[in-house]
């Protein structure tokens, strides 16, 4: 689902990886592949290491205050509108990208049981030819981090941040690692003041949430569409789990923000405004309702032909919602 692209984080991220998002191969993953991918993801989540696609030391749009954001690799949604498709699949080390690298920054290490791609960050010039060469919506530059390594990274940035946010990809696919990381932060006298937030597509099940809740300060949840059919069309998955997650988080006072990505003519928030408003009004008043505007940056495939969402579209949606009593609306600061 890769929400890093659908909201404004894309704006700050652009500086770091503008090339990343614009040159990704146009490959649509068939539904049947989703199951394989999930199996792959769940296997990797058992490991004590996190599969990290990127770390941002400073973000203003991933929860309250200033935050260090850890983007995990791998997602169980196949959103047509994904702005960072290269974050969807964990790298399977097939090596197809190696010949594409003009800097020879990628090599195959065959010394272990399974071959692994080794990325030399010093040689890399971030041209992203490897992402274009990958046919699996992945990225050979993802890095493995242990809890200890991430804590070290957090300590370096400590004076500047109010907390950390784990995002993705879909962060909850690496739940054991997320729990271990949050637990370690809460246990450290030096770090325990940091709030621990999760940015998620809401697909985690109840059992998973209950394991995480004791260490979680809040979650930002994407609601990609109101109607089942629309949600399915956009993401390839249904949205029952999302509503269950929203309810559970709200009950436990851990729902920080609901995010609605408005895609004019595609998403159904404007058509379902009465039902949507009624639903949002049931949520605790403290919950922020964040409206995000769809844009084409990094988008590949048919969604690249979908209409851009302009300020006027967002204003109209916001007006419709507030007329029906929805409070705490947060609108984008930037439209691309």
């Amino acid at each position: 689902m890769s929400k890093i692209a659908v909201d404004e984080v894309a704006v700050s991220k652009m500086a770091v990886s503008k090339a990343v998002m614009s040159k990704v191969a146009v490959d649509k993953v068939a539904d049947r592949k989703t199951t394989e991918r999930e199996a792959n993801v769940h296997r990797s989540s058992a490991s004590p290491l996190a599969n990290v696609s990127q770390i941002l030391p400073f973000s203003c749009v991933d929860g309250p205050g200033s935050r260090l954001v850890i983007f995990l690799q791998g997602c169980n949604y196949s959103c047509k509108n994904c702005h960072n498709p290269h974050t969807i699949t964990p790298c399977d080390h097939c090596g197809d990208c190696i010949p594409a690298c003009p800097q020879a920054a990628l090599t195959l290490d065959s010394s272990g049981v399974k071959p692994r791609i080794v990325w030399d960050s010093q040689r890399c010039n971030q041209c992203d030819a490897c992402l274009s060469a990958c046919s699996k919506q992945s990225n050979p530059k993802t890095q493995q981090y242990s809890v200890g390594q991430l804590l070290a990274q957090i300590r370096i940035n400590l004076p500047f941040i109010n907390g950390i946010t784990v995002s993705g990809g879909e962060a909850s696919l690496q739940l054991p690692f997320v729990i271990a990381l949050f637990k370690a932060i809460k246990a450290s006298p030096q770090l325990s003041h940091l709030s621990c937030m999760l940015d998620t597509n809401g697909s985690l099940n109840h059992t998973g949430w209950h394991k995480l809740l004791p260490y979680l300060d809040g979650a930002m949840v994407d609601l990609k569409a109101w109607q089942q059919e629309t949600h399915n069309y956009i993401t390839g998955r249904d949205n029952h789990r999302v509503f269950q997650s929203l309810t559970l988080l709200a009950q436990h006072n851990k729902l920080y923000e609901v995010r609605l990505l408005h895609i004019p003519g595609i998403s159904d928030f404007d058509h379902e405004i009465a039902a949507l408003s009624h639903y949002l009004n049931q949520l605790p008043e403290s919950v922020r309702i964040k409206l995000n505007a769809f844009h084409h940056h990094g988008v590949t495939g048919e969604a690249a032909h979908w209409p851009n969402c302009h300020e006027a579209d967002i204003q109209q949606l916001a007006t419709q919602l507030s007329q029906r009593g929805v409070k705490h609306l947060v609108l984008p600061s930037v439209y691309l």
Binding site: V11, P57, F58, V61, S66
Partner: protein
């Protein structure tokens, strides 16, 4: 162009007001006098662009920056101005406005308008909130319309008071260029919600600039200090008699090696800069009769509290030249780099240069100085600078993320007593999250930043070096001229330094030194 031709084009310039024309005519007149006596070596270094007098003029007859003791003035009145001590808010405001018009500077504008909340607090008893708001709002509008120069600077904080909060509220509402504003922050006395108000204002209009109060206060005596013009910290009841700056990029180009730079080249050019400082300060203090002024006689300034500012710029280029790095470009900025601002080794060399400059400035006596010394300054550039980065900043368009940016520059801050303006460009997403701005500011101070200036992308107001200009004014300037003197500087800087080529970036200039068509 001959002098007469220049004068003729000034008087007939279609874009300048009569007052602006008078100003440029006066500059040309002063520039036609013989230069203060200096050695051939100094003249050669000036002609080569290695040391620079900031176009202050050939015969300095007023100090660069003047910081009167306004509190003393309000308490005692003025015999020269025939004013009694202020007894209420109206009298205090009126008296201050009168005195502002008698405080000179290099630009003829008063660059320091005082610690305004502290000055007015003794007079607000019995004034209700609405009345105070209305009176201060009128003051703010009057300052913008009558002192149209973005170097005109008000200080507020660190204490929490009604004047401070009201001025922050008015400043965010009016979003004017003038006055420039510094908010003093002291973790011991400033409540978080007041700092948050200042941080919200930055998101709203890129002002105020936030100063690390305890760090600045410890660099000056009990009489205090002020932040003036574009973030120069100077002694209160004194100021800067002159500012001479060294182009470190040029100095590095003259050095055959890093060792030679530290052992010979840098000390040699520092010595020449000191010779220029001495010559200029002596003329001001001994020949110009400036210090016969009523400001001195009535104790509002003291000659012994004026210091020369020893400025440097082009640190980034100097380090890259000494290390043999090719000039950095925007295209390189998101890649692993050995350049200044991006690589620990390069940054370490930068700190070593700052430390060496600090040692020179702290050990070199001057005839007219603060405790007989000049004050080191990271100079934020003028509109004529091309291909050289202000002060110790990281080149435009190549800055890393805000946290890495602060971490790379923080170790320099301890050395630059009279100011170091680094400007962090933060994208517009911060607008909805002033808490993030607040935390960034606290993080910067925690690492030793003296001052925190941020520029939020997409704001119409944009901070250029240390003052604000309006992007829309820049666009309009070419057509119709500007009411505000410094917009012209901004337009010139924008063309010469490429500041607007990219994202909202901060440029570097302190003043437009001379007339150019």
């Amino acid at each position: 162009m001959t002098l007469l031709n220049t004068l003729a084009s000034i008087v007939s310039d279609p874009h300048l007001s009569p007052k602006q024309k008078s100003n440029y005519l006066a500059l040309e007149a002063e520039a036609s006098l013989p230069y203060v006596a200096v050695s051939d070596a100094v003249t050669a270094a000036m002609q080569a662009g290695i040391i620079c007098d900031m176009f202050e003029g050939h015969a300095p007859f007023k100090p660069r920056y003047v910081l009167p003791d306004y509190a003393k003035f309000l308490r005692q009145g003025s015999a020269h101005l025939e004013l009694a001590a202020a007894t209420d808010l109206d009298e205090a405001i009126n008296a201050l406005i009168i005195l502002y018009h008698h405080v000179p500077s290099v630009t003829n504008m008063p660059v320091y308008l005082g610690q305004l909340d502290e000055l007015l607090m003794p007079y607000v008893d019995g004034v209700d909130e609405q009345t105070l708001y209305r009176k201060l709002k009128n003051v703010w509008i009057m300052l913008d319309r009558t002192l149209p120069d973005a170097f005109v600077h008000v200080n507020i904080g660190p204490s929490d008071n009604i004047v401070c909060r009201t001025l922050l509220k008015i400043d965010a509402e009016l979003k004017q260029v003038v006055p420039n504003l510094t908010f003093m922050y002291d973790p011991a006395t400033t409540p978080d919600d007041l700092l948050l108000m200042a941080a919200s204002n930055i998101c709203e209009c890129n002002k105020p600039h936030i100063a690390n109060y305890p760090l600045h206060a410890s660099a000056f005596d009990a009489k205090g200090f002020g932040i003036v013009s574009c973030y120069n910290a100077l002694p209160l009841a004194g100021g800067a008699n002159t500012l001479v700056r060294i182009n470190l990029k040029q100095v590095a180009s003259q050095a055959s090696s890093i060792d030679a730079f530290f052992e010979h080249t840098l000390p040699t050019y520092c010595a020449l800069a000191y010779e220029l400082i001495e010559a200029r300060a002596k003329f001001l203090h001994q020949e110009s009769h400036f210090f016969d002024s009523f400001l001195v006689k009535e104790g509002l300034i003291e000659p012994s509290r004026f210091a020369p500012m020893f400025g440097i710029y082009g640190m980034a280029e100097a380090v890259d030249i000494l290390l043999g790095n090719a000039p950095i470009s925007e295209q390189m900025s998101d890649k692993p780099s050995k350049h200044y601002g991006h690589h620990d080794g390069a940054n370490q060399l930068g700190y070593r240069i700052s430390k060496a400059l600090d040692a020179i400035v702290k050990s070199t006596p001057v005839t007219y100085g603060y405790n007989d010394r000049a004050l080191l300054h990271s100079q934020s550039g003028i509109s004529l600078d091309v291909d050289v980065t202000p002060g110790v900043r990281i080149p435009y368009g190549t800055e890393p993320n805000p946290v890495a940016h602060i971490q790379a520059l923080a170790p320099h801050h301890q050395y630059y007593t009279s100011g170091i303006s680094d400007i962090l460009t933060i994208d517009a997403t911060v607008k909805q999250n002033p808490e993030a701005m607040l935390q960034l500011c606290k993080g910067a101070f925690n690492l030793g930043f003296r001052e925190f200036s941020a520029n939020v992308a997409s704001n119409d107001l944009i901070r250029v070096t240390g003052y604000m200009i309006k992007l829309s004014d820049i666009a309009a300037f070419k057509q119709q001229g500007s009411r505000t003197n410094t917009t012209g500087l901004g337009a010139e800087a924008a063309q010469n330094t490429g500041i607007l080529k990219r994202q909202p970036r901060v440029a570097a200039l302190e003043l437009t030194p001379s007339y150019s068509e």
